[in-house]
């Protein structure tokens, strides 16, 4: 039973061709047509069903980190093409296309910043760059994130958005799963906290490595979370996929994640958790600024 009534919305049937492009978007979850401005105002959340749309790395950064405190790490790393992969489209061409499309060098942004009173090492994955896939660059940047956080005794927070490993890099990409997990192991052994934030979608290879190794795992509402894609499962097993399968609410019920957190509450929740998992805020604030010389 609900104690308070939810705000009611009237939905109007609109045909797609009637929509002025760019002003309206169709919510992939509730299928309602929503005024884009309204979504942007609400931090990328559907006003009808609270589906959390993907947001850019910069928007995410602005939500999580105190203004002007972010220092990017390893911005110079760019993907190579170790296999000289050619399919119908070459990897080289895909990289050019995705750099242009996303204005990013690769699928993760890493660095250090202030989150409330805490200095944190932060990674933000971006699904817009080749489906947030983990190749050598993502693997290396995530590994360095943990290694620097270990050297500087910082907590790590990673916001995941990924379709898995980057197949254009073949086995090199699979090995990033091992490499990043090794770095998580060392960081964790030093008693330092790691919080994994799963956003829509978080699946496959990244989920089978650092993303599920958080001391705390939280997810935004209705995010797709899992290992194998629903299509692959259906093809392999011929089983009917249950409603809500692999969504945040489903994996919460099945015990994978600690909590579902609305985007608007994300930063305050993280700060609250860090309060339990790190030395006192004052101690953290008084900590000398990390030395410029860091081990690689």
């Amino acid at each position: 039973m609900r104690l308070f009534d939810r705000k009611k919305y009237t939905s109007i049937k609109v045909r797609k061709k009637d929509l002025p492009s760019g002003l309206w978007v169709k919510c992939p979850d509730c299928n309602e047509i929503v005024y884009k401005h309204e979504i942007d105002e609400g931090k990328g959340v559907c006003p009808k069903c609270a589906f959390h749309f993907q947001i850019s790395s910069q928007e995410r950064l602005a939500l999580l980190i105190n203004a002007d405190t972010f220092q990017e790490w390893d911005a110079d790393l760019a993907s190579a093409d170790p296999l000289q992969f050619t399919g119908q489209v070459s990897y080289a061409a895909k990289l050019v296309e995705n750099r242009k499309k996303s204005a990013l060098k690769d699928a993760v942004l890493c660095g250090q910043g202030q989150m409330g009173p805490f200095t944190v090492a932060l990674g933000i994955m971006n699904f817009n760059f080749l489906g947030g896939s983990m190749g050598s660059v993502v693997g290396e940047k995530i590994t360095r994130l943990f290694e620097r956080a270990l050297a500087d005794r910082l907590p790590v927070i990673i916001v995941c958005a990924t379709g898995g490993a980057r197949m254009y890099e073949g086995l090199f990409s699979l090995m990033q799963m091992a490499k990043t997990s090794a770095a998580v192991a060392r960081h964790g052994q030093a008693g330092l906290p790691f919080i994994s934030v799963l956003t829509h979608p978080s699946t496959a290879g990244v989920m089978a490595s650092f993303a599920t190794l958080g001391d705390i795992i939280m997810a935004e509402p209705k995010a797709l979370i899992g290992f194998a894609g629903p299509r692959v499962i259906k093809e392999t097993t011929r089983e009917d996929i249950p409603k809500g399968f692999q969504r945040s609410e489903f994996v919460l019920k099945h015990g994978l994640i600690d909590m579902i957190v609305q985007r608007k509450d994300m930063t305050s929740t993280l700060i609250c958790l860090l309060g339990y998992m790190t030395p006192s805020a004052e101690a953290n604030a008084q900590r000398p600024t990390p030395n410029a010389e860091r081990p690689m």
């Binding site: 911005a75 110079d76 790393l77 760019a78 993907s79 190579a80 170790p82 296999l83 992969f85 050619t86 399919g87 119908q88 489209v89 060098k105 050598s136 693997g139 290396e140 590994t143 490993a165 980057r166 197949m167 890099e169 073949g170 086995l171 090199f172 699979l174 090995m175 799963m177 091992a178 490499k179 997990s181 090794a182 998580v184 192991a185 060392r186 964790g188 052994q189 496959a204 290879g205 989920m207 089978a208 490595s209 650092f210 993303a211 599920t212 190794l213 899992g226 290992f227 194998a228 894609g229 692959v232 499962i233 392999t236 097993t237 089983e239 996929i241 399968f245 099945h254 015990g255 994978l256």
Partner: protein, 323 residues
């Protein structure tokens, strides 16, 4: 068991059949055909050599999946003594797609474990075609931790198309099971030798694939995605699997060249399935050699080297920022 042969094996099989017919004929008729037999045998090995020198990556994938290829328990039986199989993950089930237990390799105690395929319909149902559920990975970790507790080196044998993609596996979080294995394998202070004996299918293979030495049998493959899966995504058609197999650089030679595996274990000419005994003997020797070397390394050094080994994997460029 039916005799399966791959398309490119047909010329060899035909010649071998001819050889048998000729032998039978000579015995029945008491006619000396030894000259012809020698000639035919020569032709067989020439044909084999020709075919096996020109295998495509897709041929290699077929060999890795050969229904007569020796599986994990075949190697355990051929290489080890005193094998005691241990069961279950102590949480949910005993996943028969993952097998393991204590054994002796030339009297050396080891924990040997791996993914296990079935030979026929019935055993494949039980073994789930060698595709483990989360409980398989958790069972593997339990056994490996047990080994570490008793300073026992670990040998893993990998032959899987991948972790099983199913609703149950998702409900019990196969991704988490694999991830935890990856993390924990970097902390176990005993030698770990990983061998790809057939299919090295993606995360399901890597889940027992972190170790100090990575060996691969000559006609095995190890890949981030199956050629069919890759073809379905990039070519929109699984029929392009052979092109995908080439593009993925998944053969033992390609992986060795890329520095992603340490050793290629040579197979008998014609593949492991043509002489499983010889294959097992070769593998056993390689394992013993590596084991001897690793046992001489102090645990802290071993762990550091294991970290550094995987730490070095990856190829990228550094570009000027803003460039």
């Amino acid at each position: 068991m039916a005799n399966h042969s791959l398309a490119f094996e047909k010329p060899i099989v035909e010649l071998e059949n001819k050889l048998q017919e000729l032998r039978a004929f000579s015995e029945a008729q008491n006619i000396d055909v030894s000259a012809e037999l020698v000639e035919l045998e020569k032709k067989i090995s020439e044909t084999k050599r020709n075919i096996f020198q020109n295998l495509t990556p897709w041929d290699e994938v077929q060999l890795a999946r050969h229904p007569q290829r020796p599986y994990t328990l075949d190697y355990v039986e051929a290489m080890c003594t005193d094998f005691i199989e241990l069961h279950g993950d102590r949480h949910y089930a005993d996943d028969q797609a993952m097998v393991g237990g204590f054994a002796r390799l030339d009297n050396e105690p080891v924990m040997i474990l791996g993914t296990q395929k079935g030979r026929d319909v019935k055993s494949n149902v039980a073994r789930n075609f060698g595709m483990a559920y989360p409980e398989g990975y958790r069972k593997a970790l339990r056994l490996m931790k047990l080994a570490a507790k008793h300073a026992c080196p670990i040998l893993t044998l990998i032959d899987t198309a991948g972790a099983f993609p199913g609703i149950g596996g998702e409900e019990r979080h196969v991704a988490e099971a694999i991830a935890v294995n990856l993390r924990e394998l970097f902390l176990l202070p005993v030698p770990i030798i990983v061998t790809i004996i057939g299919e090295g299918g993606s995360g399901g293979a890597l889940g027992i694939g972190v170790g100090d030495r990575i060996l691969i049998l000559e006609h095995s493959y190890y890949s981030v995605i199956s050629p069919e899966g890759c073809a379905a995504i990039l070519w929109k058609d699984r029929a392009f699997a052979s092109q995908a197999a080439t593009a993925l650089k998944l053969t033992s030679k390609d992986l060795f060249k890329a520095g992603l595996v340490d050793e290629i274990v040579p197979e008998p000419l014609g593949g492991a399935h043509t002489d499983p005994k010889a294959m097992a003997a070769t593998l056993k020797q390689r394992l013993l050699t590596n084991l001897r070397e690793l046992k001489a390394v102090p645990a802290d050094v071993l762990l550091r080297q294991r970290y550094d080994k995987f730490r070095a994997m990856g190829v990228f460029e550094t570009e000027a920022v803003g460039g």
